[in-house]
Symmetry: C2
Subunit: 172 residues, 2 copies
Amino acid sequence: MNGMEMLFTRRSIRSFRPDPIPKEILDKILEAGTYAATGMNRQSPIMIAVRDRALRDRLSAMNAKIMGADMDPFYGAPVVIIVLADRSISTYLYDGSLVMGNLMLAAHHYGIGSCWIHRAKEEFESEEGKELLRSLGITGDYEGIGHCVLGYAETEEGEAKPRKSDYIYYVD
Amino acid sequence: MNGMEMLFTRRSIRSFRPDPIPKEILDKILEAGTYAATGMNRQSPIMIAVRDRALRDRLSAMNAKIMGADMDPFYGAPVVIIVLADRSISTYLYDGSLVMGNLMLAAHHYGIGSCWIHRAKEEFESEEGKELLRSLGITGDYEGIGHCVLGYAETEEGEAKPRKSDYIYYVD
């Protein structure tokens, strides 16, 4: 897929088939995440790629609870990539966001739907979230930036909604 | 350029030729910015594309002052796109970062170098920054997210620095 086409045709997907994503494609998506720009190349983010069904469902439940809703906030997606970033680095929030962006774009390149699901911050501020990080051997002051949920889309991607009229200002 | 190649070969450029960027290419880069994902598609960011030399130099001076340095923080780039986002929308910081990401990637697609220059937050918290927004007819509670400086690179893009070894964790 052409780069500009990739930027213009990515859509947020909110309905997924349960089919797994081939490991080699997931690896390329994650690698694309590592190539996001980071402030002074300090690489403050980390990614946790969750394919384990039990953990995926536990995260979904934690997220739903924060939301105060009784549903799967991951829309049935079989894979969840959690992006966190090291708060001790001043650009961490911007860095982590760019990693999320690369993940969504690379997924789209491979015909895989994605959506940024929020509340990762609250999730990993909880004791359960902190314990989860510890259990993976992750130490340090990490803040949840987002969940990039991934899977094959249930339905065709629609047209983009109109962009607002005052998005761009020129000073020539 | 292929989408994955675009993600893997973008580099931050810190030395620019003064040559202008053709308007039709700048327009495509900005349009790519508007296609970044935003929380609930609320499109919280705005972009100010600065080609005017006087304003570009004024911004550079404001930025250098915040930095406490006596240099051009925009590395000679002829074009500066300021990204700001509406603080009243909870996802504004993430949204604005994704716009920055799309700008850098689209620029690379067209063979144009870019770099994220920080301190936009401090710049637009100053009275001078606020007055600048007012002079452009921009009202509302906008926070500076970043400057995407653009231009033709002075030197060849180098190899990417190594990625850290603990960027990715798997839970299978």
